[in-house]
């Protein structure tokens, strides 16, 4: 599947990101702002905050992910890298995986930075199995990122590119978002088991990772 181009591409992307620090800095500040705004909008002192925290956190992550994803192909387009990939013998999947994994790492870093802020502002404490929270985070983030990377590539050839990505991503992500929010709420409140939701997230990830890998070739070659 990946001809060894995935890793070099991935490392190149990460290195470029690290050197430019543009995206990282703006994203960090954006993430902080989102947490603060949400804290003003939904009073964190209230007792019910634990019930809604799952939803809040994931909506914040979702917005951060969309902002990150929108930039994902920008550099490639600027430097006509996509055309180079199209004529190279490398399988398109390696490019997709590199992009998706790069985005995944990026969004995970953002989440890791936003989470302590949320915990602080909302005085969060998991009443359920806290060790499952990273599992949900990983599965949920991958669900958003894998489809997001795919739809970002699709949106390249559209007018209003930036708005097209969320328009395509949000409807398809509904079951995943429901699952991540429910699982997180289940773990935080400890009221019920997150098992079903975690299984659903795994199913979602498997189905759409497969779908993206199978169809990316088609999308890449669309001029």
């Amino acid at each position: 599947m990946s001809s060894g181009l995935t890793t070099p591409t991935l490392i190149k992307d990460l290195r470029l990101e690290w050197r430019s620090k543009d995206a990282i800095n703006s994203m960090l500040f954006f993430a902080l702002l989102v947490v603060v705004i949400f804290s003003f909008a939904f009073d964190p002192i209230a007792e019910e905050s634990r019930q809604i925290a799952g939803g809040l956190v994931w909506v914040a992550f979702l917005f951060a992910a969309v902002v990150a994803l929108n930039q994902t192909w920008a550099r490639e387009v600027r430097n006509a890298v996509l055309d180079a990939y199209r004529v190279s013998p490398a399988p398109p999947n390696s490019l997709f995986l590199a992009k998706a994994i790069g985005n995944f790492i990026f969004v995970c870093v953002l989440e890791a930075l936003m989470t302590p802020l949320f915990i602080a502002f909302y005085n969060l404490r998991a009443l359920g199995a806290a060790y499952l929270l990273p599992v949900v985070a990983i599965l949920g983030t991958w669900a958003l990122v894998v489809n997001g990377t795919f739809f970002a590539a699709m949106s390249l050839r559209t007018r209003s590119r930036e708005i097209m990505l969320p328009l395509l991503l949000f409807p398809i992500s509904i079951p995943a978002v429901l699952a991540m929010v429910s699982a997180t709420s289940a773990i935080l409140t400890g009221e019920y088991s997150p098992k079903f939701w975690i299984v659903l997230l795994v199913a979602y990830d498997v189905v759409f990772t497969t779908g993206c890998l199978l169809l990316f070739d088609t999308v890449l070659n669309a001029e």
Partner: protein
């Protein structure tokens, strides 16, 4: 083929009138909900029609992905558009029904929510078609359709489970159905299927025409600079 169109139109009109008569007059009044329940005949038949259209879109998209057949692409576009129209009817009649019966405009019950998500997915499909500047729009749209289809079972299970944890009123109720009601429902469904077919057929011809005109305009633009006139 051309003569069949008006004949079919008459058949559709007859079926629709008959269906309306069945729904408003013949079918018995429901015990608990009263006359408002008659919305059911339009709500459910529109839903079944919409889902069928979306299914055809999915099949047409797969055919296009495999064969790059233009006809399949036009069928996909047409069924998506007409499907959204019928889906909109479902989403509008649903709340109008729910309001007098349960006092709420909306409920996140399985069927209504699933319908909403399908509507969202297909509206995003139509937006992709409209905003795409690629020459390969049909291909991208077909891929999106496949993604939508993959999503549907996941949406179903996620909402189903969510509902078992947080139950809410169900629009449409359950239970056995009076045979006269079933007859009215099936008649209306047949009528709406014919209507859907007619609208799709018209839309298909319109799309065919539109593409021809586009081609002619393209040729026009090519020939003009040469000053051959």
């Amino acid at each position: 083929m051309k003569r069949a169109f008006p004949i079919f139109g008459v058949v559709t009109a007859v079926l629709l009138s008959y269906g309306l008569y069945q729904a408003l007059v013949v079918a018995p009044t429901e015990q608990t909900m009263g006359e408002v329940q008659r919305i059911f005949y339009y709500h459910v038949s529109s839903a079944w029609t919409a889902f069928l259209l979306f299914l055809i879109n999915f099949v047409a998209s797969i055919v296009y992905l495999v064969r790059r057949n233009t006809k399949a692409d036009i069928i996909a576009l047409v069924t998506a558009e007409v499907g959204v129209v019928f889906c909109t009817v479902v989403l509008v009649t649903g709340p109008i029904w729910a309001r007098p019966v349960w006092g709420i405009w909306w409920t996140w019950d399985l069927r209504l929510t699933l319908t909403l998500v399908l509507w969202l997915i297909y509206v995003s499909y139509l937006m992709l078609r409209r905003f795409s500047t690629s020459g390969q729009t049909p291909l991208l749209a077909a891929a999106l359709s496949v993604f939508g289809a993959l999503d549907v079972p996941l949406v179903y299970f996620s909402i189903w489970y969510f509902r078992t944890q947080h139950p809410q009123p169900v629009v449409g109720g359950g239970g056995s159905i009076d045979p006269r009601m079933m007859h009215a429902l099936l008649m209306n469904w047949a009528a709406f299927l014919c209507l859907a077919f007619m609208i799709s057929w018209s839309r298909y011809r319109l799309e065919r025409l539109r593409r021809e005109v586009e081609e002619m305009q393209g040729l026009e633009a090519l020939l003009e600079p040469r000053g051959v006139r």
